[in-house]
């Protein structure tokens, strides 16, 4: 192993060497710089690998041949090696990235860059307090020098402000160092714990040291001085400033907090969480991309500080957790800064230029997922471990603050991503192969890191999961035609089903069939797509991977990871819709919010154990069980879009593409239902404050069933109508589940199957209509029955099935429903469910009437039947619905038996094809027989009497003795249920939307208000900083006084 000291020597030596070169040989200077940085990176990496594999041992390097404290000593351990690798490699890549500007400005700047990287490495390694101060001074001066690299004139001001405030911090640090020496007699960091200064009256000394190091992390709100740098500096330097400087400073703070003792940890926790929350809140208000990244950097480093504050509860996992967040931040943030160099405009929406190059979009998505802590990236594992540790130690408020701020951060980042995908770019992307190469290297690194963190997690290594890899496989395959990829995708789903269905219980099997085979079936519709359809298959397969893994998951970790996969995959899918930008955002925010509730729930349930089997939910302590139930239920109910948490659904489902709507509606909603199945299966009845939580679920389900149906009846947009109808249908299913009896569960399962079939079918049908008419507004259509007969048939069968009218399968659901409510004590919620049944007719009739019946419009006279591949799956669904209606036993019987094992009863008897319950009978074959015979007889009778009826043309109607003027005024369609609206329109009041808009406005308002502190004046910033220090000191003093 090469001595780590050479990292410093190489940096410094090369910097001096540059001075010896001729002024004009910038190229040579550049290569010297690169070589030095490369060498430094090589040493750091070799130590990282050596230490990780156990080939090397941590080493303490003494300088000047003397033992500390009389000389400076440096330490190289695993953490140091890894972080120096981050620092040096960021420096190396940024040097490549800034090549043109470095050459332009010459060897002096290169020397400064080398000194900066050297100093950052030194900051990480040193164990001497004064040496720490020296490195910080070096960093400050070098940073100020590099800020001037930018051509942006504001950089000058930013650099000056930075220098001013940094000096204030340095003074604080220096005073702290002096005090410490006075109190302790040593400047060696490792000597500090020998005399815990908090008890020696010299707490001010350690406070000053700590606060100075914390201030280096740019805590909120004392960080105005640093943010201008992100905004105006060269993106290559901003990457270093954010990733390398942030990393080194965070580690320096960690070193000091580590030795200062547990009494000081609340300082780190407090400032850390305030910074994380505050910075993310402020990021909401940003429209400038690099400034947003600056706030995000501040937030992430604040989070690391908060994690450092949890050293006592995290114990040995601290490096794993803090490192996961820090490294994710470093890679993603530097990646994003580098990416920003490829975008000409500085508005967030200017990132739409990236669409010119799909690879860059993938990189953008990767970095954002990495920052947000989505699987399989390191921050995901870190988040998992952190929340588990926090919840196990009762830090509920802190967890809540962390998760809410993380949600805001996700909202900020995904809003930005949505803009990049959906907005129009005004300027083309910069073509620069070096930039792209650097960005791609960062992206590659993120996947390598994902593998490392996964391997060290003690859980499943998510990046090695076959379904995920299969989804990622479509990234390189995106250059092939969509039809070939579609075939592969369908084959993949079928094969995965064949591999994974063995040994599943019937409930899981039904869900797996719906999600995986149903997905394959719906993908048939995707054969309709022309061209390459880039960016469709990876998210789609990611979503299906998530669902397949969800069903087969055993531990809470697998479950949660699968949940996040399907959430992210479906988000990217939904975002593809034409007008879906705001809806996809609201979808991802609600979904991640729900996912965080799941995370908290699982963490609370497991009591800190990382490996927690979902089946253990039934064994958790009764005092926490109800809270676990509430958290998990919130997570699942967000997915099923229960009333109140539903506002994301109509837009997300309605604006998605034709073949995506049925996937996210017919299939994805079942994930929430599956979760509720598992939750209720394992936890059953739970009581909180004397309220049975399943009763709350019953009410929520009934309310969703009713209000969803009413709102559906008032929609003019066909897809929105279907979306609201999904809320209603899922309400029925939740209601059935929460009844907690055998038939209720069978009802829920029947709804899961039926809803999948008819909602997929109807969404495809309406999507097919939209493909042809180019509108979703029903009143603009009319009379399409003769032009699109197959689509009409599928809608007809769909609405008969959905309305519950015999003989189709919806009736079976109603029959089970009545039998289920006969065996429950709950009466009042039934009123809502009874009310929602007939309202179903309203919206269903409107759907078929306004589109297919009535008067055809002139502009739609030439419309053709929907494309073959959109109609084909519908016809399969029609066949299934009819078969399922006649022979429900083919699916339900096995499930019924299984549910019987759970509840220990068997209320249904299946004799032949007849189903008997304690209360009544359902004989589907007889129903079919009677109806079919009567219908055909009467039809024959009519044909016999009326065979010579004359087909008349449009407008040949009895119309007050006049001829109707035009179809627009004759087709009664707009505001179809006006009388119903007059009576029940009050239910349309957007209470939930109003509430969530209020929350969002309050957050934005707070952000706008807080922005006022950022005056842009360097002196004000310095004063703010000092006031911050005083305030923190008073708070710390107060809390310590209170403690003693």
């Amino acid at each position: 192993m090469v001595s780590p000291l050479l990292i410093l020597a190489a940096g410094l030596g090369a910097a001096f060497l540059l001075g010896l070169l001729r002024q004009t040989s910038e190229r040579a200077a550049f290569y010297v710089t690169i070589a030095a940085l490369g060498f430094m990176g090589f040493i750091a990496l070799s130590w990282t690998v050596g230490l990780a594999l156990g080939d090397a041992l941590p080493v303490m390097i003494t300088t000047a041949g003397t033992a500390p404290p009389f000389a400076i000593n440096l330490f190289m351990g695993g953490m140091e090696a890894a972080l120096i690798s981050v620092v040096t490699l960021t420096g190396l890549l940024s040097a490549f990235y800034m090549r043109k500007d470095l050459l332009r400005l010459g060897r002096r700047v290169m020397a400064v860059l080398l000194v900066l990287i050297m100093a950052l490495s030194g900051l990480i390694m040193t164990r001497d307090l004064f040496n720490l101060f020296v490195f910080i001074e070096l960093i400050v001066i070098a940073s100020a020098g590099l800020i001037l690299l930018s051509r942006d004139t504001r950089a000058l001001g930013a650099g000056f402000k930075y220098l001013v405030v940094s000096q204030v911090i340095s003074i604080l640090l220096l005073v702290g160092v002096i005090f410490t020496y006075h109190a302790n007699g040593s400047l060696n960091i490792d000597d500090i714990p020998a005399r815990p200064m908090v008890f020696t009256g010299a707490s001010l000394a350690i406070f000053l040291v700590l606060i100075a190091l914390v201030l280096e992390l740019k805590p909120f709100p004392a960080n105005g001085w640093a943010l201008d740098i992100y905004e105006s500096a060269h993106p290559g330097f901003s990457a270093i400033f954010s990733a390398a400087s942030g990393t080194a400073a965070a580690f320096a703070a960690f070193k000091l907090f580590d030795v200062a003792g547990p009494a000081w940890l609340p300082l780190a926790t407090g400032i850390g969480i305030v910074t994380f929350v505050g910075a993310n809140l402020l990021a909401l208000a940003q429209s400038h991309d690099r400034r947003l990244l600056g706030y995000s950097s501040v937030g992430q480093i604040g989070l690391v500080l908060m994690v450092i504050g949890q050293a006592d509860i995290l114990g040995a996992t601290l490096p794993y957790v803090a490192g996961g967040i820090l490294i994710s931040h470093a890679v993603a943030k530097s990646g994003l800064f580098w990416l920003s160099g490829l975008v000409k405009g500085r508005e967030l929406s200017d990132w739409a230029a990236l669409r010119d190059n799909p690879v860059l979009i993938v990189a953008f998505a990767t970095f954002i997922a990495m920052l947000t802590g989505l699987p399989p990236f390191p921050a995901f594992y870190a988040k998992w471990a952190l929340v588990h540790a926090l919840m196990a130690n009762g830090a509920f408020a802190l967890t809540a603050a962390f998760l809410i701020a993380a949600l805001i951060e996700a909202a900020v980042l995904f809003r930005w991503f949505g803009m990049a995908i959906k907005r129009e770019s005004r300027r083309a992307v910069v073509v620069n192969l070096t930039y792209e190469a650097v960005v791609l290297l960062a992206m590659g690194t993120s996947f390598v890191l994902s593998w490392i963190w996964g391997a060290a997690s003690g859980q499943e290594n998510l990046i090695t999961l076959v379904p995920l890899l299969f989804a990622l496989l479509f990234l390189p395959l995106d250059i092939f035609p969509a039809k070939a990829k579609n075939l592969l995708a369908i084959a993949g789903l079928v094969v995965w089903f064949a591999l994974s269905f063995h040994g599943l219980d019937p409930i899981r099997l039904v869900f797996l069939i719906i999600m995986v085979l149903g997905g394959a079936l719906l993908l048939l519709a995707s054969f309709h797509a022309e061209g390459r359809r880039m960016g469709f298959y990876t998210p789609a397969m990611l979503m299906f991977a998530g669902m397949a893994l969800l069903i087969t998951s055993e531990t809470s970790f697998q479950f949660f990871a699968a949940w996040e996969f399907l959430t992210v995959g479906s988000y990217f899918l939904i975002l593809r819709g034409h007008d879906s930008e705001p809806h996809a955002l609201s979808y991802i925010v609600f979904s991640l919010g729900g996912a965080f509730a799941l995370l908290a729930g699982f963490a609370l349930a497991s009591g800190g154990k990382f490996t927690f089997f979902v089946s253990e939910l039934s064994e958790i302590a009764p005092q926490v069980a109800p809270y676990v139930f509430v958290l998990l239920a919130i997570g699942f109910l967000t997915k099923t879009a229960v009333m109140g948490l539903h506002i994301w659904l109509p837009g997300a489902h309605a604006e998605a593409e034709t073949d995506v709507s049925p996937m996210v509606s017919g299939i994805l909603l079942k994930a929430g239902l599956f979760g509720l199945f598992i939750l209720l299966l394992e936890m059953g009845h739970q009581t909180l404050y004397g309220i049975d939580l399943t009763v709350v679920l019953v009410w929520l389900g009934a309310l969703s069933a009713f209000v969803g149906a009413v709102l559906a009846a008032f929609q003019e947009d066909a897809k929105r109508l279907l979306a609201y109808s999904s809320i209603s249908q899922m309400g029925y299913a939740v209601f059935g589940l929460a009844l907690m009896n055998h038939l209720g569960w069978l009802l829920a399962l029947m709804f899961a199957i039926n809803h999948f079939v008819y909602k997929s079918m109807l969404f495809l049908a309406v999507g097919g209509v939209k493909e042809r008419t180019h509108t979703k507004l029903m009143y603009k259509m009319g009379g399409l029955i003769t032009l699109m007969p197959y689509t009409f048939v599928s809608v007809l069968v769909g609405i008969i099935a959905m309305s519950g009218v015999p003989p189709l399968s919806g009736f079976g659901g109603r029959w089970i429903f009545y039998n289920a409510i006969m065996s429950t004590d709950l009466r009042l919620p039934m009123i809502l469910v009874f009310m929602s049944g007939p309202v179903g007719f309203l919206y269903l009739f409107r759907l078929i009437h306004s589109i297919f019946l009535g008067q055809p419009k002139d502009e739609l006279r030439m419309v053709k039947e929907a494309p073959f591949w959109i109609v084909a799956p519908q016809m399969l669904f029609v066949a299934f619905l009819i078969a399922f209606a006649a022979l429900p036993g083919m699916i339900l019987r096995r499930v019924d038996g299984y549910i019987g094992q759970i509840f220990g009863d068997q209320p249904l008897t299946w004799s032949g094809r007849i189903v008997d319950s304690q209360f009544g009978t359902w004989n589907p074959v007889a129903i079919w027989g009677v109806i079919a015979v009567v219908f055909i007889t009467i039809l024959l009778l009519l044909i016999w009497m009326n065979h010579n009826a004359q087909r008349v043309k449009q407008f040949n109607i009895v119309f007050s003795a006049e001829r109707p003027f035009k179809p627009q005024t004759t087709h009664f369609a707009w505001n179809f249920f006006a009388p119903y609206r007059k009576a029940m329109g009050f239910l349309e009041a957007p209470i939930a939307t109003g509430f969530w808009t209020g929350v969002s406005n309050a957050l934005h308002g707070t952000a706008e208000f807080t922005r006022k502190f950022y005056t842009g004046n360097g002196q004000t910033y310095a004063v703010q900083l000092l006031l911050f220090v005083v305030a923190v000191y008073l708070i710390v003093l107060g809390s310590m006084g209170g403690a003693s």
Binding site: R827, H849, V934, I938, Y980
Partner: protein, 305 residues
């Protein structure tokens, strides 16, 4: 015959017999009720066989037009709804002849099959392209959402009371004395259901669906000739079939055709009487009416059972 365990060919002529009796009864009874209504209004009224005349006239009409497939099928749906409803419910309690095909299902089947004809009719009327048809459907569906609610609650109450969904068992439980009728054992449920009964019989004050003044006859506006003949047949059959359900659930059922005739007539007259003396509600008014009066009674019914 193992796959159709309850079926026997002999049931077919018996079911046709039931159908024949009920259609003829309905023809005469509805004409009688119209005549009574006319006399109350000081008019002479129609002859008692008017319905037969209308039927024959419509079948004999020579001009026949069609607006399309659904338009053509709507009367079929409509009449299938009526005939099916009759056949899924036992007509005469204790009679082997008139159990029809009630083994196919229970009360829930009957309740949901009521909508079969309505839905088909609405679809056919929609295809005619006549705005009055669509307006009628819009009004009808809006009204029925609330009008059916008290019935659903009443039915829930009595199925809890009798602990069964089987119509025959419910009728059986009411035998013995007039005081065993649900009307007396569970008056709240009965009152709730009667709100729905009055509300869905297409008579004033709830007949805005076919509002003869503004949207002449509503959904069937475009129907004529044999189409109308089938619908007329249904118009005499369906109310009777529906009344049979109410009679079975709340008024002790019928053990013979005479009892059947009387009970159906009395129940039918109830809506006629109310209709003669009340002006018409607008749709939103009737919705509010059912919310204000029908719903509370229904809620009381399910809470007190």
């Amino acid at each position: 015959m193992s796959s159709f365990p309850n079926f026997a060919w002999g049931q077919v002529p018996l079911a046709l017999l039931t159908l024949f009796i009920v259609i003829n009864y309905g023809m005469i009874m509805t004409a009688l009720v119209r005549k009574i209504g006319a006399r109350v209004g000081g008019r002479y009224g129609i002859p008692i066989w008017q319905n037969y005349i209308d039927l024959l006239k419509n079948i004999a009409l020579r001009s026949k037009i069609s607006h399309g497939v659904m338009y053509y099928l709507a009367p079929v749906f409509r009449l299938t709804g009526g005939v099916g409803l009759l056949l899924f419910v036992p007509t005469i309690y204790g009679s082997d002849w008139h159990q029809n095909f009630s083994y196919a299902g229970d009360l829930i089947l009957a309740l949901y099959f009521v909508f079969f004809g309505t839905l088909g009719m609405a679809l056919g009327a929609g295809e005619s392209g006549h705005p009055h048809s669509a307006i009628g459907v819009s009004r009808g569906l809006s009204q029925v959402t609330m009008a059916e609610l008290p019935l659903a609650l009443g039915v829930y109450a009595i199925s809890l009371q009798y602990q069964t969904l089987d119509i025959t068992q419910i009728v059986a439980a009411q035998q013995g004395s007039i005081f065993n009728w649900t009307l007396f054992t569970n008056p709240l449920a009965t009152i709730a259901a009667m709100f729905a009964f009055v509300g869905t019989m297409m008579r004033s004050p709830f007949d805005v669906v076919i509002a003869p003044q503004e949207i002449p006859i509503g959904p069937p506006t475009e129907y004529h000739s044999s189409y109308l003949a089938l619908m007329q047949t249904n118009r005499v059959l369906f109310p009777v079939a529906k009344t049979v359900i109410y009679m079975n659930l709340f008024f002790g059922g019928a053990t013979n055709w005479a009892e059947f005739a009387i009970k159906v007539f009395v129940l039918y007259m109830l809506t006629a009487v109310i209709g003669v003396v009340h002006p018409r509600f607008r749709v939103e008014q009737s919705i509010r009416f059912f919310l204000k009066w029908g719903l509370p009674v229904g809620v009381l019914a399910i809470l007190t059972v």
